[in-house]
Amino acid sequence: MHETIFFILKILPYLAQGLTITFYVSIVSFLIGLTIASALTPLRVFLRPSLSLVIKSYIEVFRGTPLLVQLFIIYFGLPSLGVKFDPLTAGIIALSLNSSAYQAEILRSSIKAIPESQYHSAEALGMSTVQVYRYVILPQAIRAAIPALVNEVVTLVKESSLVSIIGVAELTRRGEYIVASTFRALEAYIAVAVVYLVVCIAMSQVSKILERKFKIPGYERGVV
C-alpha cells in the first residue's frame, strides 16, 4: 500500500507538467469557443428563424456528433484537402468549435430566460434596443450563464483528455507514458483521475465564488 502511494506521489510532478498543457488546451478552447458563441448568439437572437438556420445547423452538427470524430476529421481528414495542423492546434480547433456550439446554447437560453416584462419596462423608458441589451438584459443574462459556463470549462478540462489520442502530451497522455514504461496501469490512471478530480472540485468552488460575487441581492428570497 505504502509502495503504491509512494509511486503515485513520485509520478505526480511529471503529471503536473501535463496538467499545464491540459489547462492551456482547455482555457484557450473555452475562450475561443466563447468568442465564437458571443458572435453567434446575437445573430441567432435577432435574425429571422429562416436566416438563423445556418447557425442552428452549425450548432446541431457540433453537438450532434462525437468530439472524437470531429477531432479525427480535423487532424486526420483535413490533410487530404491540403490543410494540415500539428496535434496541439488540431486539438484546440476541435475543442473550440465543439465548445462554441454548447456555449452558444448557454448564452441563448440565458437571454431567453430574462422575462419579457424586463424588455417592456426598459423600452417603455425610451431605451433603444442596444441600450436595452447593454444595461438591462445582458447583465442579467451573463449572471444567469455563469454556472453553466464554469461547468463548460470543467467539461473541457475532462474532454481535453481526448487530444491525447493524437499525441498531445497533456495529463492523460503523460499517464499513458508512465503505464508504457512501468506497466503499472492501475496506479498511473488512478493518479491521473485524482488530478482531474482535484481540478474539477476546485473549479466548482470557483463557480460558487463567482455566483456569490455576482448574485443579485435579495434574489434568494424569491420575491419578484
Binding site: L125, G126, Y135, P139, P217, G218, Y219, V224
Partner: protein, 249 residues
Amino acid sequence: MDVLVIRELTAGYHSTPVLRGISLRIAKGEKVVLMGPSGSGKSTLLKCIVRLVEPWSGTIIVDGTNVLEDNVDIRKVRQKVGFVFQSYNLFPHMTVLRNITLPLEVVKKMNKKEAIDRALQALKVVDMVEFKDKYPLELSGGQQQRVAIARALAIDPVLLLLDEPTSALDPELREEVLETLRNVAKRGISMLIVTHELDFAEDVADRILFMDHGMIVEEGVPYELLYSPKKERTRSFLRTIFRRLYTKH
C-alpha cells in the same frame, strides 16, 4: 390641450381582436380611471399608447405627436409617458437609485449629478429615499411599486399610465401604494389608471371609463358611474366587485 387623444383604435394578438374601436381623450391634468373585467383589453390599450403592442388601426396622439405615423420616433414619445406595470418590472440587478438614474442618464442624457438629484426628488415623492441603496428584491412588493412610480415620475412625463398598480399586492401593501398615488395625483399630472380600487377611483378620478370586449361601454364622473351606471354590463361588473369587497371584510 388634450395630452392624449385616441380615435377608433383597434389592436389584437395574432388574428384575435382585443381592442375594437376605442376613442378617448385625456385633458391636461385630468385623471381617468379605466375599469373592466380581465380580458377586456385595458392593458392592451395602455401598451398601445407607447407601442409596446402594435395597434392595427386608428389614431393615437400623445402631447401633439401622432404615435402611429411611420416616421415618428417612438422613443421620443416614450420619454414623455411614464408607465407603471402591474408587476413593477424594476431592474433587479441595480439599486433603487440606479433604476431611476439609468434612464435619466442614457435616455434623457442628463449628467450623473443631475440624474441623482432628480432621482432623489422622485424618491422623496414616494417616500423611499432611505431605500435608495437597496436592491429591488430586498424590498416588499409595495415598496417596489413605489420605486416604479418614482422611476416613471423622474422622467417628468406629461402622462402617467398605470396598469393595475396594486393588483399584485397584499391588501395591507395596497394602501401604501394607493396613498402614494393620491399624492402623485395632487401634483397635477395627467393619469390613465387601470384599477379596480373603487375608493381610490372615487377619490382621485375625474372620469371613469368602463371597458368590456375591447370597447368602452360607458363613461362618466365617478359618482355617476359607480352608483348609478346606465348599462347593465357595468352594473353586473360593479356588483361583482362590490360583492368581492364585502366578502373580504
